[in-house]
Symmetry: C2
DNA sequence: GTCTATACGTTGATAGAC
DNA sequence: GTCTATCAACGTATAGAC
């Protein structure tokens, strides 16, 4: 792994654990095994580093979730896949998930351009529109549905992250929760 | 208002806008119209200030939400009241809501004792247990339901906070969303 | 690209007069 | 309780050698 990636990886680890404010760039460099100056060679400011890390992590999440969805399936299966993949990713990448949560409710979030936000959300939004058109999903504002779905997913991921459940128990909870969500929007 | 409250109020305003890390104690003191030393007279450290502010704000929210709930009503009405009151409070106290969100997904959250968390959540949890017992609510783990309800509420509050809706439109969305939530858990 | 050394402002916190 | 003055430590960022 090259130094640039190493820096992102270390920043992620420390940010998730201590938060942006309590993580000096010097510690990030140390953790990454590079000199202080090297960090600033790749990222002109700390803020630039934080934003780059967010975009990268969000990209990883989207890639994971949507590369595992088949357009051929029924709408319910599509939603179920998106749902389960998101939860899976969060559980397998706890630091990343924790970082995204922290970033999203921080003032940094306003620094992300609307296009960046929309591009990430576009796929799910399309599925929702499709479902409304085919009358599978309740005729409500699509962005409202999107928000409620996303909140539900983060909430469940949080729940499963902190609790100590066996893999079978986890799977059961995920399926039950999906049924609830599906009942909610159809 | 005495100085101690004035400090909390100023801290809230600045934290909500800039985050903990980008808000120095000196700015808080200035905004509150008190001397730097006075702040540290009331709160020994910055961390102590942040924690005190969280507990205070969370207390305000609980007070608002649950003082407006009548135990006499049907379970659906009780849940609806809790739901609507929570959203109302968030919309009328945007800085407070934003601060709680930020705090909850920050590493500071682990500094709050389990008892403090539980005491805040106890009332809703009781209603959920009651609903499960009377078979009004699906027989699922109560803390899971609680998490999903809370996520739903924060998600909707966030949605309404950023969008520009008329009061009538807002009310309509809130009622529709509650119906969805109620469908989900019953 | 990577390192070392360092500048320079900022910040949390204290001391002590009133 | 409240203020002013002050400090030691820290954190971001830069300069310049290799």
């Amino acid at each position: 792994m090259d130094k640039k990636e190493e820096i992102l990886k270390s920043a992620l680890k420390l940010f998730a654990e201590f938060g942006f404010h309590a993580t000096p760039t010097s510690k990030i460099a140390k953790e990454a095994g590079v000199a202080n100056g090297t960090l600033f060679h790749y990222y002109k400011t700390k803020e630039e580093l934080i934003l780059a890390l967010y975009k990268h992590t969000q990209g990883e999440l989207s890639k994971y979730v949507y590369s595992r969805v088949s357009q051929e399936d029924s709408l319910e299966i599509v939603f179920k896949s998106v749902y389960c993949n998101s939860i899976e990713w969060a559980l397998e990448n706890k630091a990343e998930f924790q970082f995204i949560q922290q970033f999203s409710s921080s003032p940094f979030h306003t620094l992300i351009s609307t296009e960046d936000i929309n591009s990430q959300a576009a796929i799910l939004l399309d599925f929702i529109h499709e479902g409304i058109k085919s009358a599978d999903i309740k005729p409500l504002p699509a962005d409202l549905l999107q928000t409620l779905i996303n909140s539900h997913i983060s909430g469940l991921a949080q729940y499963l992250s902190v609790g100590e459940f066996s893999t079978t128990k986890q799977k059961k909870i995920i399926l039950q929760s999906f049924e609830m969500l599906w009942d909610m929007i159809t």
